[in-house]
Symmetry: C2
Subunit: 449 residues, 2 copies
């Protein structure tokens, strides 16, 4: 024990938890562009950072006076009632909830990842399972497993050709797990999907959870990045439709908007996660939310431990101020959707005209690329995840990082997630490097990352 | 399970964890003064909030531009290298460390409570023990036990008459625990002490931890509130001694300042906790620190889970800006110590002249009152903790809240912690209510809190 620092078994177990998404990113980190440390580094198109509304956000933040005297003393660990009330108004405006959201339905967390972690802790115990259909956002590996001893039960349920969910496969996997005595306590769904960027058939998932009496968590961090209604009018000049009307055309449907949830499932089992990181480009602020409209006992348990992730009054006050200007918020959402649509159009035009395959998306800040053919051309008929990693190394070496499918637990190698919520000149350069790398011979690196 | 929201055993266990300090505070909460909700409520002298430097802090914060473009994207979950480097300089200036503190010795947490919680998770497992000599800061009950299943092993080791630590008793308790097969993994010490407000004999505690090869955590959140060198010159007019020279006279000694720790104990077992909540009156900002100079493996484990308590870039940037003005910080510490000393002198003068017994303090924002005689006068020879609670109810009813000894796990009833880091007019009113309550007959309340 001496050489390990005399740590708890919990800590040693944590250190052994694997997360291919994190491994890939950490492996690439030293090669990535950094303003001071690595100005010649690779363009990062592998992380979901929304740069498109950066200027507007920074300007507004500067003019939002952040602190009052009362903020020097203790605030509420799970967000002030004031902030939660303001956000309740926001959800009621943009998420079309069946039952209005109230301040006491909301808990503030340091990001969506922490929200998933906190929900996992109150839902499942050591050696119990949370089901996560793949491909899925790979950091869930850490959010679910660290500190908790909970296991992930994953099933590849997406037809890679049609992109539709195979619910027959999902039910079959669940029946098998149950018959083997596995205790599955919840299912976790990204809605809209990450990395696929499309809406989910949430009623079928709710039915599924109800059928097995398990919790269902909807991670909706890309809810207001559903840009598909904006695709027909890239510049949007002279369009007088309000954002809310546009969103009504949207294929996105929040779990909050489902009619009569209590008739479909015990509503205490349904939880929604949101954050400001993606739709508002505020990864740095660490503001996430758990929205739960029915399970008071669960919220009581979460409030008890929220002091370990206590929100700063500075952040609380700043976000309250930002969301108090509802006209500005509305305009920002509109601007963001227009820019996402514009960037999506440019990106997909480039990809199509250069014969790079991708899955069309409706939402999110990324595209899931299907580079399986390219991988086969490079490596022969049956490429491995090691071949996928080699391609990533070539891309990095040439100057661009995209996130490998292995990080999303794809069932076969050759998929990559590419972020397009990036300023066009940088993005174009990244796309060109991608294209040239795919069309050239594999490199032989002396030192592979 | 239905009616409990289908929660994990972990959550149900958490909900059953007791914390007398929290219970007392929540019981009093609805009676306490609140600017809008309860303007006629009781004065709160039961919580350690430092109001004495509130104006200076608020003014400085307003002039510290909080955010830059880079802050919109992901920061570091355990604090930016920039912030940790700045704080390393602060610790090197004011804590007199034997080995200079470096940025990678520091992890930022959302407060000292979260720091203790995080250390507990990597040190002990379910059903293992952390030793906390009593009386102790009662919220440790939650910081150590929630989510972890760790137990608290407490021993009343302070002679109530002499206030010195009885190490013979401490060793005896440890030997007994060990012989009974209890797995004690650490000892947790407040230095300076809370609620007693004096320095600890830290070398003896380090020797103790070494003797049993257990971790030792020093919670030093009142480090720079050691006001005793300022007691001789209340107004401090014309005093040109620097704060650092004054601090050199101070009875406080940080665990960081102990010579040659590696010769006393495996230094991987020694951890220091600090925060900005007390010495800088910033309870609301939730900025705490773990300082560990030798245990890299432990820090690696903590960094892994720090994303669940991810610091906001807004707070990170603000604190960096505040601590970059080292002249201002120095002056603020000086001002704070002068004001604490002045408030201590006024408070103790009042207490002495009104025959209210207290333990003299050197540090902190509070005094531990010995109201055992008063309790005996009210209730007869052998008062109980229920009598202590009755006295608290009378105090609350008359308009002042002080924190009952039961919350600090005192071995006998009749002690209370009273905060004096409060503006004098409010404090004086609270003291007068305290005096009149002690000198009058116990009330008979229809509804006790």
């Amino acid at each position: 024990m001496e050489n390990t620092g005399n740590l708890s078994q919990r800590a040693l177990t944590n250190l052994a938890v694997t997360c291919p998404m994190r491994t890939a990113f950490l492996g690439a980190l030293s090669s990535l562009y950094h303003a001071t440390d690595n100005p010649a580094g690779a363009i990062n198109l592998g992380m979901a950072q929304n740069d498109l509304i950066c200027n507007e956000m920074l300007e507004k933040i500067s003019s939002s006076t952040p602190l009052r005297e009362v903020d020097l003393s203790y605030g509420d660990p799970h967000g002030s009632k004031r902030l939660r009330g303001r956000l309740a108004g926001f959800f009621n405006t943009y998420f079309n909830p069946h039952t209005p959201v109230l301040d006491n339905h909301i808990l503030v967390t340091p990001g969506a990842g922490a929200a998933v972690y906190q929900l996992a802790t109150v839902i499942a115990d050591v050696d119990e399972y949370i089901m996560v259909p793949s491909p899925y956002y790979g950091t869930f590996d850490l959010d679910i497993r660290l500190n908790t001893g909970i296991r992930i039960f994953t099933v590849g349920i997406f037809h890679t050709e049609t992109l539709s969910v195979d619910f027959v496969l999902l039910h079959r996997a669940m029946e098998k797990a149950t018959s083997q005595g596995l205790r599955v306590k919840a299912i976790l769904i990204n809605n809209p999907h990450n990395p696929l960027g499309h809406r989910e058939d949430i009623k079928l998932f709710i039915y599924f959870a109800s059928r097995y009496n398990i919790h269902i968590i909807f991670d909706e961090v890309y809810a207001l990045s559903t840009f598909s209604p904006f695709l027909r009018e890239e510049t949007n000049q002279g369009d007088h439709t309000s954002v809310r009307d546009k969103l009504a055309e949207s294929p996105f449907c929040s779990a909050l908007a489902v009619d009569n949830v209590p008739q479909l499932i015990d509503p205490k089992l349904v939880h929604v996660v949101y954050s400001l990181s993606k739709d508002f480009g505020l990864n740095g602020l660490r503001v996430g939310f758990i929205i739960d409209q029915y399970n008071d006992y669960l919220k009581q348990a979460l409030i008890l431990t929220s002091s370990f992730s206590y929100i700063s009054t500075v952040t609380d006050r700043l976000v309250y101020n930002l969301f108090s200007d509802t006209v500005w918020i509305d305009k920002l959402i509109h601007t963001n959707l227009q820019r996402l649509a514009a960037s999506y159009i440019r990106t997909t035009s480039f990809l199509s005209s250069h014969n790079i395959k991708f899955f069309p998306a409706q939402s999110g800040h990324f595209l899931f690329l299907d580079l399986r053919d390219d991988l086969r051309k490079r490596c022969g008929d049956i490429p491995t995840f090691s071949d996928e990693a080699d391609l990533l190394n070539d891309l990095l070496h040439n100057g661009v990082y995209i996130a490998p499918g292995e990080g999303f637990h794809t069932v076969e190698p050759g998929f990559f997630r590419m972020t397009f919520s990036v300023e066009w000149n940088t993005l174009k350069r990244g796309l060109q490097i991608l294209y040239h790398t795919l069309r050239s011979e594999p490199a032989t690196h002396a030192n592979k990352v």
